[in-house]
């Protein structure tokens, strides 16, 4: 399977792009030409120059540097969200699918209620409830999305739990947790990988939307959604402020979508031919 | 006894990008008025493809070459619109899975009527009375009620007979039956085969009967074309094929089939029932 991954041009390109962006984000302090927080009112709305590659914003800060620093909250928070969502969802799904009985019933009822709510509203409600800060943004997203994964993983577990290799493993006396971790998890991992890469895009958009509305990452921290919020007011005078973060979001989310599609092609044998 | 359809050097190739596969290779046969040609072969031998190729029903990826002369015209060279007008009226077809061939969202009567509306300018009342007549001819009782039913409410055998009835409704010159007995149970199979025999005798329609079942073909066909993996394995009258088959594949087919039938007969005789 790794060979197929390496051969698939789309998967390789998008992965390289994403890793590159993550790299830039991590090494932003070294790569950014200016301090993203330093204001220089006299120099506001300057055009592209060598010291300010994308010009400056309404407070005279370097847009390019803010973009680079902005990778951190955008990607970082999204990654944390996904970890939390998949972690909680996987745990619940595995428990429900593997042990069945009343554990399954309770978990699935909760999942049903969670899924009948619109995710957007729930995120807002949770943020409203817990207060406006970054942790709550992550918590809200995890709270909303785990149910989806729980259901998916439960379906996957149900498919595999009665397979021969699981029964055999139990026969020779392996502990339940061992079976869960070593046998079932890798089987469903591939489906999870596809879903996760498509969902990271959703997470990025969601986090940036919250920041845009002022409910997530607060000013003056550079984050692409928050930057767009500030850009809203200066649309006529400095459109670059609005275009740059937006295009960045589109590129990164598209990369994740393409990666998800490519992964699906790699992992699904039927799609491979013709 | 005139020739209704004459096919020469019919070939079909599947072309998808760089991938090319030969489906049918140089098929020749002819069909005569009042006679039935049986096309015999295993699954994948290209039987259905032959019929679809002649009627222009294959998607773009399939390249068709050769000649199919029908009433002086080469079907393979006709425009889509001309072919469409002939389908359902002059050349009709009965398909394999009657349960899935009708649109599940429309009543059966509507679908039959829409076919007639396309090919004729009969009034609504005339269409309705003809449809009831057709159902009667097919020995379906309460034709009026049946027309109001949805496809999923009728059995496979009944839908098959309705299909045959529709195929004969506009008095076609050529009727093609693609595995009409495959998807229905044995008892109904017999009555369906009887229908085909009746059609041949009463209406003098030319027929092509496609099947993998030697038994079914034996009841209806006068001539037999045996296909094996897209190529003609044997061709001749039914009697010739049965007793003097030239191709080893055909001989094998007949031998095995005869052996099965023999075993079956012996088993039944032992059981005490006198089946011929």
């Amino acid at each position: 399977m790794l060979k197929k991954f390496l051969k698939n041009k789309v998967a390789m390109l998008t992965t390289i792009l994403i890793v590159f962006v993550a790299f830039v984000g991590i090494f932003a302090p070294i790569l950014a030409p200016n301090d993203p927080y330093k204001t220089d009112i006299l120099n506001k709305f300057s055009t592209f120059s060598l010291s300010y590659p994308l010009g400056t914003d309404h407070l005279g800060r370097c847009v390019f540097s803010r973009m680079l620093y902005g990778i951190r909250p955008t990607l970082g928070l999204a990654a944390l969200t996904m970890l939390g969502t998949i972690g909680l969802g996987a745990l619940m799904g595995l428990l429900a699918g593997y042990f069945r009985g009343w554990i399954d019933e309770i978990i699935m009822r909760v999942v049903d209620v969670m899924l009948s709510f619109p995710s957007q509203i729930m995120v807002f409600a949770v943020v409203a409830l817990l207060g406006i800060n970054v942790q709550n943004v992550i918590l809200a997203n995890v709270f909303v999305k785990w149910a989806w994964y729980a259901r998916m993983i439960r379906t996957g577990v149900l498919k595999y739990r009665d397979r021969n290799f699981v029964l055999f493993s139990r026969c020779i006396g392996n502990r339940e947790s061992f079976i869960l971790g070593r046998h079932l998890l890798p089987s469903i991992a591939s489906e999870m990988a596809v879903l996760a890469s498509l969902d990271i895009g959703w997470a990025i958009i969601n986090i940036s939307t919250l920041s845009f509305l002022g409910l997530g990452v607060q000013a003056p921290i550079p984050e692409w959604g928050a930057m767009l919020n500030e850009a809203k007011n200066v649309l006529t005078t400095n459109p670059v402020q609005m275009l740059a973060p937006g295009i960045a979001i589109v590129v990164v989310v598209s990369a994740f979508h393409l990666l998800g599609d490519a992964l699906r092609d790699i992992l699904d044998p039927k799609e491979a031919n013709l | 006894m005139s020739t209704v359809l004459e096919v020469s050097k019919l070939s079909v190739t599947l072309e998808k990008g760089k991938y090319e596969k030969n489906i049918l290779d140089n098929i020749d046969f002819s069909v005569h008025q009042g006679k039935c040609l049986g096309i015999l072969g295993e699954s994948g031998s290209g039987k259905s493809m032959t019929a679809k190729a002649i009627l222009g029903l294959l998607p773009r990826e399939f390249v068709v070459s050769g000649k199919a002369m029908y009433q002086g015209k080469d079907l393979l060279g006709q425009s889509k619109e001309t072919l469409r007008q002939m389908r359902g009226k002059e050349i009709t077809m009965v398909l394999q899975n009657p349960m899935t061939c009708f649109d599940p969202l429309y009543r059966v009567g509507y679908q039959l009527a829409e076919t007639m509306r396309v090919h004729t300018d009969w009034s609504k009342e005339e269409i309705r009375s003809r449809l009831v007549q057709i159902l009667q001819d097919m020995k379906i009782r309460d034709g009026g009620e049946v027309l109001e039913k949805y496809p999923h409410q009728l059995s496979g055998g009944m839908l098959q007979r309705i299909m045959i009835g529709l195929a004969m409704a506009l008095k076609p010159t050529l009727l093609i039956a693609d595995e009409p007995t495959t998807a229905i149970d044995a008892i109904i199979q017999y009555s369906v085969i009887q229908e085909f025999q009746r059609i041949k005798e009463e209406h003098g329609t030319a027929m092509i009967f496609i099947s993998h079942d030697l038994g079914a073909i034996s009841c209806v066909a006068d001539d037999v074309l045996v296909l094996n993996q897209g190529k003609v394995a044997d061709m001749g009258s039914f009697h010739e094929i049965l007793h003097h088959a030239k191709d080893p594949y055909t001989k094998l087919l007949i031998e095995k089939r005869a052996a099965v039938m023999q075993k079956y007969r012996t088993a039944l005789k032992k059981g005490g029932t006198a089946y011929a």
């Binding site: 409600a125 409203a128 002022g214 979001i249 | 029903l57 469409r84 599940p104 969202l105 829409e114």
Partner: protein
């Protein structure tokens, strides 16, 4: 048939109760004391114990949990959602009603746009599969799914309102104000439905009844519209129906961008003001709408499909 409908409605009731319970619990999970918060929001200068106790009694917070839940539920059924924390003179129900028409107008127009645009485009993408039109559309759809709705709004605002000066940028006055926000809201759903209809049609094209229709000599137009499209639409009914509550809840962001005075703006303002009763009522409203519309269109789909309809009768 009636039995089926009644059974489905009865099955939905526990779900509605659950949702209402979650909403009720919601307010009581706030880290801080709602009475204190209310006082702070009302900008009472000195917060004494007595004042808190008074407000608690006023808001009914001193009674046992279950009693409060039942009382609250009964009030909700009578459409009494309490008063706003920020402005006790205004009832929550009143606020919702004030802002609802604007949102309904926006959501309604978006729905119309979605249906008018996605149906024909999806149809032609399927009919002319892999043509330049199909590929172009799929490319645009791909891009649109990666764009956050608010950025699309900003982009449109910049391009259409400012550069081309064709439409106003914000506010709510004439029909001209409606176009950009409605289009922004509908864009996400248009992409989804174009894809849905295209895929449904392509799958239906492979079905046996299409082959038989061709065998019978029906013209392509009839086959495509009367048979393939109708079958494809059937599977979309629930999806399209569910988009109505989704559109209503999805206007939040766009209302913010275009300063459209609807429920979304109300919700955001309430979040900033910590006006919990309003938020609670909004979430409850949307949750109920979701369940109701899901139920409604599920039943409609069963009714519309003869195979399911007869099973059920």
């Amino acid at each position: 048939m009636k039995n089926y409908v009644i059974k489905r409605i009865l099955a939905a009731i526990p779900l509605l109760l659950c949702i209402s319970f979650v909403c009720f619990v919601f307010i009581n999970l706030i880290p801080s004391d709602p009475a204190e918060v209310a006082l702070r929001v009302r900008q009472v200068p000195v917060i004494t114990e007595a004042a808190i106790a008074e407000v608690r009694a006023e808001l009914g917070l001193d009674k046992p949990y279950l009693v409060r839940y039942v009382n609250w539920l009964i009030d909700c059924l009578q459409l009494d959602f309490g008063v706003s924390y920020t402005n006790p003179s205004r009832t929550v129900a009143g606020e919702l009603v004030r802002c609802l028409p604007a949102t309904l107008m926006l959501a309604g127009t978006s729905l119309v746009m979605v249906i008018l645009l996605s149906l024909p485009i999806g149809f032609f993408c399927a009919v002319y599969k892999d043509s330049w039109f199909d590929r172009l559309t799929r490319g645009i759809i791909f891009m649109t799914t990666a764009m956050p709705a608010y950025w699309v709004g900003l982009l449109l605002m910049w391009f259409v309102s400012i550069q081309l000066d064709l439409l106003p940028t914000s506010g709510n006055g004439t029909w001209k104000h409606l176009i950009l926000p409605a289009f922004t809201v509908s864009l996400t759903y248009i992409s989804t439905y174009i894809r849905l209809i295209r895929n449904n049609m392509l799958e239906n094209m492979k079905e046996d009844y299409v082959l038989y229709a061709n065998v019978r000599g029906l013209p392509q137009k009839t086959i495509l519209t009367k048979h393939i499209l109708k079958n494809s639409m059937h599977t979309c009914i629930v999806a399209i129906g569910m988009s109505i509550p989704q559109l209503i809840s999805g206007t939040i962001v766009v209302e913010n961008v275009f300063a459209w005075p609807g429920l979304g703006t109300l919700c955001i303002t309430s979040i900033f003001n910590r006006d919990y009763p309003v938020i609670q009522a909004y979430v409850l409203l949307i949750g109920v709408l979701f369940v109701v519309f899901n139920l409604l269109f599920d039943i409609l789909q069963t009714l519309a499909d003869p195979r399911l309809r007869n099973e059920v009768v």
